[in-house]
Structure formats: C-alpha cells, structure tokens
C-alpha cells in the first residue's frame, strides 16, 4: 500500500519526507447509505446538475466490511500524523468516502466551497455512480465471471467464452474506473492536509484545484453511469404512433415526432426519417426515425410509453378542450458484436407499398417504398424515404432486423420489459407523461413526477431533464436496497 501512495503521489510528497503508514481499509458499500429524495428535481434545464439532492443520510453506522470481490482489497490510505485539524482523519482508520458523506459537510458552490465541500460533493457523486452501476450486483457478477473464466473448458465454446470475457472486461473496466476515482479523492485529501501542515500554500492551492477538477469530472461520470446498460451506446429507431381521435391526435403525433427530431439534433445525433404515414388532414398517423449517435438508445429508451396532450384543439371549430394520445417506441440498433436474429429469406414477403396501376413503363414515380413482412411473427417494416427501391428495401430490412432483435431480447429478458417493448405491445394504458396546454401550462412525467411549467421548451426538444430524471429514478428502483 505504501508503494501505491508513493507511486501515485507527486514527487513533492516524497521530498517532504513524511513517514507514511497505511491502513488497509475496505471501501464501503455505499449503496446502502444514502437516501435520495426523488422529488427534488429542479425544473431548471441545467444538465450537469440534474437535480440530485441528497437529503437524509440514513445509515450513519459505516460498515467497514470486506469487499465482495476477491483479491483486490481496495485500500484507502491515511497517514498516522498527529493532526488536530481534522478529527476523523486523525485516526488510523482514516477517512473514507462513506465517512465523508456521514460527516454531512455542507456542499457549497464550486467557487466558494472549501476542500470539505468539494470532497463531500465528490463522495456523493461516487455513491451515485455506484448505485447507478448497481455496484453490489456488479461485484457479484464479476466474481461469477472470474470463476467462469478460470474454468479450463471455457474455450470449448468460443462464442460463449467470447461473450463471458467481453462482459468481464467491460465490468472490470467500470469497477476499476470507480475505484481509481475513489482513490484519487482520498489521496488528494491526504495531500491537502499535508500541505496545510507544512504550510505549503502552493501545494495546497494546487490540490484544491485538483479537487475542483474532480468535482466537475464526477458530474460527467454520474451521467455516464446512467447509461451503463448493454445496449445503451447503440443508435436507435424512434417510432411514434397516433392514438384514436383523427386529426387532433395525428397532429399531436407529429408534434411528438418533431420534439424528438429537435431533441436529437440538439444532442448532435443525426436523424433520418425512415417511414412516415401522414394523416388525412394534418399530422401523422405513424412515423419512424433513425437516430444515429453514441448513446442514442440509452437516452431515448426513457421515452417509451404513451404521451398525453390536453389542449384546445385548433381543429375543433367549437374550441373545445381535447385529450389525445401518442405512443412512442424505441428500438436499439444492435452493434456488430451482438448476436442478432437470423432471418430466412423464405420467411419474408416483400410488397410494393403503394401499388396499383399497371406499373412498369406505364408509371413514372419517385415513390419506391416497400413493405417487408416477416411471416412467422407478422412483424412488418416499411421505408419510403430513400430514393431507390433497393435502398428502401435495405432500410426496411434494417428496421425489421432491429424489431426482431428486440422481440428476441424481450423474450430473453422479461425483467427489463419496460425498455424493450415494441410499438405493438405498448398498452395505451401505459401513460408516462402529460402535456397540458390548457387551462394551465405544464408538462409532467407520471413516473418521476418531474415537471416543467413551460411546455413550449419541452416540445422544442428540451427533454433531457425528463430523460435523466427517469433514468436515475429507474436505476434507484432496480436497486433492491432502495
């Protein structure tokens, strides 16, 4: 452990010639110690601080247990310096992330906070990250995977072996990332206290700056941890389907689709319309867009469900208030590494989308849309926005492939059903959000109670508040200890 400290510390540390002794402390199971008050999402759109507010600390008795995974007893290090400055650090047990939180140091603004404030903020982030990664489950899983990897007959089945070692690699990476971050925090604190003792103001301000940097990075890491599920990094399709109610609801479906298009563009995802069935008078009956970019699926999956609009319909001459619905489905486009459903050509029926007339040389049209039907499942896909039939067919095939992949995933992991529903399966009862334009103005998410009083900004694509609050709350829900 000593070597660890010296290696990771600046040379200054050694020059100071302080005698260092260490205690090996386990990191603390953090997921049990914080209660998140979920109602505290602020309605400000500021992304980087999306409203986590740690109210109560429920577990003041820190547990200094051993870690669940074997062999890597994580060590935090403290010095056995007689230091009256900080009582907690004075002990050989040292300061841990958990203790920092237990200390309930006030978290002040980045600019005015002292080191404790920074440390507390970072420690909180670490706990958030661990919860989002489902830390305990992750460690158990890692143990299982390691055991699996050690089996001598593992490579008899290379596909399985590849899958196991990929997952092991990915989880190890996540685990190490958090551990390193945690260690860095504690080392900075060590360093800072040292600097204070030595009256080394240069070192002190340097370390303080390092803490502030960490505090900023920790917010990004929180966000990353929200999107740590398997398919989160994928691109995706977003589908919107109008509910019953004719033109008003078709218009609503078009508004919802527009909301996603602008949201995606703001996030620098590229958007292409794959399929669009326009309403008779206005709006759309149904549409599919392809959203290309890293983590498009991870974010967009939070939007799955039924969206409800209340307003005075511009299509009603009687100026009455209408309620309409639009269903949203999100389908990940799996990467090359994933196992995809194999489609037999003989299971497909390909049809010209708008047939009729003699066709061939008789007809000149730029419309070459096709519909592909997967006969065994009845799943269909259509594309009409490409300029050749060949490309329309290829795009429709890609949609069909993703739908079948999703069906298969849903079958395999019924647990995560809320993320893997396809449009046909969404029950119209599964309402997730209400948009009220009259008699008052508000958008409210029924799952998280997150609400915004400016519907226009939401309809213009300012959705991140809703998405992030849902993602974090759903991860809380998944955690058995919350």
């Amino acid at each position: 452990m000593l070597s660890l400290i010296i290696r990771r510390s600046r040379s200054r540390f050694i020059i100071h010639g302080i005698k260092i002794s260490c205690n090996s402390l386990s990191a603390v199971d953090s997921s049990s110690s914080v209660l998140v008050s979920r109602r505290t999402f602020s309605s400000t759109p500021a992304l980087s601080y999306f409203g986590f507010n740690y109210g109560k600390i429920s577990n003041l008795n820190q547990r200094f247990g051993n870690y669940a995974y074997s062999g890597s007893s994580f060590a935090s290090s403290t010095r056995s310096l007689s230091s009256e400055a900080v009582a907690v650090a004075a002990t050989c047990d040292g300061l841990t992330v958990e203790r920092i939180i237990a200390n309930q140091w006030p978290i002040l603004d980045e600019n005015e906070g002292d080191w404790k404030s920074h440390a507390a903020a970072i420690a909180q982030s670490i706990q958030v990250i661990k919860r989002r990664l489902q830390w305990k489950k992750l460690l158990v899983r890692l143990k299982v995977l390691s055991a699996e990897l050690n089996k001598s007959d593992l490579w008899d089945d290379p596909t399985h072996a590849g899958k196991i070692s990929r997952e092991h690699g990915s989880l190890t990476g996540k685990m190490k990332g958090v551990m390193t971050f945690e260690r860095e925090l504690l080392e900075h604190i060590d360093m800072l206290k040292l600097a204070k003792e030595e009256n080394d103001s240069e070192l002190e301000s340097e370390t303080l700056k390092a803490l502030i940097d960490m505090r900023r990075v920790s917010k990004e890491k929180e966000l990353e941890a929200l999107l740590s599920a398997d398919n989160d990094p994928c691109s995706c399709y977003i589908e919107v389907q109008a509910g019953a109610g004719g033109t008003e609801s078709n218009d609503w479906a078009a508004m919802v689709m527009e909301m996603y298009k602008t949201w995606a563009q703001r996030r620098k995802f590229s958007v292409t319309v794959v399929d669009e069935a326009p309403g008779e008078i206005a709006g759309i009956k149904r549409a599919t867009i392809k959203v290309n970019g890293e983590y498009a699926y991870g974010y967009a999956k939070a939007e799955v469900g039924v969206h409800r609009l209340v307003r005075i319909s511009p299509f009603d001459s009687g100026k009455r208030r209408h309620t309409s619905f639009a269903a949203v489905a999100v389908i990940p486009i799996l990467g090359d590494g994933s196992t995809r459903v194999e489609i037999n050509d003989s299971d497909l029926r390909i049809e010209r989308f708008r047939s009729g007339g003699a066709g061939g040389q008789h007809a000149n049209t730029t419309d070459s849309a096709v519909r592909i039907v997967h006969i065994p499942t009845g799943i269909t896909a259509t594309c009409q926005n490409e300029r050749s039939q060949h490309s329309n067919k290829a795009s429709a095939m890609a949609v069909l492939q993703s739908r079948l992949d999703q069906l298969e995933m849903a079958r395999q992991t019924a647990m995560n059903a809320q993320h893997t529903q396809s449009l046909t399966e969404i029950s119209w009862g599964n309402q997730i959000r209400t948009y009220v334009l009259h008699p008052y103005r508000m958008v409210k998410d029924l799952r998280t109670n997150y609400e915004v009083s400016d519907p226009d900004s939401v309809l213009e694509g300012d959705l991140d508040g809703f998405i992030l609050s849902f993602l974090s709350s759903s991860l809380d829900k998944d955690d058995p200890e919350h």
């Binding site: 602008t262 049809e351 049209t365 730029t366 490309s391």
Partner: protein
Amino acid sequence: MIRIFPSLRLTSLLSAAKPLCSSSPAKKPPQYTSLTESKSSRPTKSLSITPKTPLYLRTPSHATSLSEVWKWHDWAKDLASSVEESSKNSEDTLDSVILHRELKWLIEDSIVDDPLVILHRSEIADNGEKNVKLRASLEELYDLWRQRIEKRRPFQYVVGCEHWRDLVLCVEEGVLIPRPETELIVDMVEELVTRDEWFKKDIWADLGTGSGAIAIGIAKVLGSRGRVIATDLSPVAIAVAGHNVQRYSLEGMIEVREGSWFEPLKDLEGKLVGLVSNPPYIPSDDIPGLQAEVGRHEPKLALDGGIDGTDSLFHLCHGASRMLQPGGFFVFETNGEKQSKMIVDYMMTSDLKDCFSDLKIVSDFAGINRFVTGFRL
C-alpha cells in the same frame, strides 16, 4: 421488329444537337473502349452528344442569401400542396406527399451546406442574411419546380439523375428513366451468378440499355471478370449510357454499342451466357393515355411495343435462341399478366419450342407478373 417512327428519330437527334465534345476531350463518351476493340460498325454521329451534368454534380457557383432560398422553399411548398385541389377531376394527378419529398431531394441536390438550414429554418437563430452556395441559380430553381408541377416534367429529368439500386444514374430527355421494378432483373442475375459461377465467365448483353442501368447493375454483380455489352438504337441513350459507365469506371467491363437489338452483336452469335432486356412493351393504343410524366416527356421509342406491345419481345425471343450459348440465361421485362403469358406460350409453341427450358414468370413487388425468365437448351 420494332417500328421506328422517323419523326421520333428526328426528335431525338434534334434534342441531341449539342456542342461538339471535341472541345473538351476529357468528357468524350468512353463507349468505344476495351473488349473486342474494333469489330462492330460504330456510327460516329453519337460522338457529338454530350450528356447533361446532373444537378448534384454541378459546381456550386451560386451564392444566394438564405432568406431568398427560404422564400423559394415556401413558394415551392405551397405549389406542391396546392396540386390536389387544382386537379381533382382528373385521374392522372400529382400527389403532394410525394412532391414534398421530391422537393426535399431537390434541395439536397442543389445545396452544398446541410439541407437542414432550409428544411428546419425554425430552429436556426439566423436571420437569413447568411449566404448559401447553390448548384443552380435561384431563377433556375423556380423554373425547375414550375416545370415539375406545371409541365409534369419527371423529377428525374429535373435533377438529371435517378437513384436506382445503389447507383445514381444520369438521365435526360431522350432516355427512359429506369423503373424500380427493373431493379429486380439485377437481383435475379445476382442470385443466379452467386449460385453458379459459370455465368460469370462469359459475355452478357443488355439490349435497349437506355441509361445503362441494367448493364451497370449486372457488371457490378458479375465482379471483376464480368463482360457486358449494352446496345441501344438511340444516340442519346448511347451517349448517356456511356457516360454512366464511365462514371462508375466500368469501361473495362461494359461496352456500349449503337444499333437495333442484335444488329451490333453479329460477332457474338451463340456466345452469350446471359441476355437481359427491358424492351418497349406498352401497346400502341395505350400510349396516348399514359401518365403525363411518361407520355409527354419520356421517349416513345423506349415505350411503344406495337399493337400488342409484344413486337420487340417476340424479336428478343428469337434473338435469344440464336445468341445464347447452351445453358445461357435470359430475363425480359413485360407489361404484366397477359403479356408475360403470351411470351411463355409463344416460346413453348412456336418454332422456338425446343429452344428453352425452365421458362418462368416472375412477379414484381406489386404482385404483377412482370418478368419472363428461362435458359437456352
């Protein structure tokens, strides 16, 4: 034998009266290269035709303020939306949904910047002062869109290209715009040559190639050893097909020959391994009632198949028996149900009855019996 109306020939020649390309030798159509270097007679007149450059390949030399482009876009959208009301009592109408999509493509083809600056103006905090670079002047864009809607000029002629399979083919008046159905001919050939490498070894022919679509599609699925000869009677088609072949750098695989059906292939009797064609097959009586885009703008030479529409098809059947080597494959596009059956019946009963095997009728994606295929015995 297909009937050639002298007047039609004249028209296509007139429309082809463009500056000689000798002034820009780099653009000379490459149709007379490679393969069998000299044999067939090659009329020199088509050398005088320079194919038009499609919009999307033109130099973006027209800087225009964004607000002016938005104004044009609004106007064009309104015009597209108004077509249905204005033509309600006719059967042959424009569809505003399709027109809006075409407008989007027209913008994609004419602007260098991201087309979203035009299509999604509401999200742009710009006041429109900024200049964008266009490949056509704004006046021309007004004119092109008016031609599309008022003159019913096919969209593909408006932008000078047709997206077909994974290709972008130059097209212009005088050349039939390849149809989506015809893509399936290439699919069938692809399936065949994937199944049986033998079909990659020898020469294929695409008769009445028009823009060169099928020939290029087949050359690409044949791979590097492929050889395709594309023929057409129309000098414009010859020039355009040659240009398209050159754009895909397939001069080494495709030879374009001018002449009627098998005439330019006299040196290849009994040697072809595959024969494909989308010949004119519309019965003459149907020509006056064609959709405006087709009837008013596309070359009748490529559409009119005689009284039954089968003149060229019957001619092709006989040619196939003469030109294909044993085991060789053919696929012809037809007018549909009645005609495809006529062709198959003809091949099974006439003096051709012992020439072919595995005669099949294949339908297109609309379920119409569009193609006749078979093998030379």
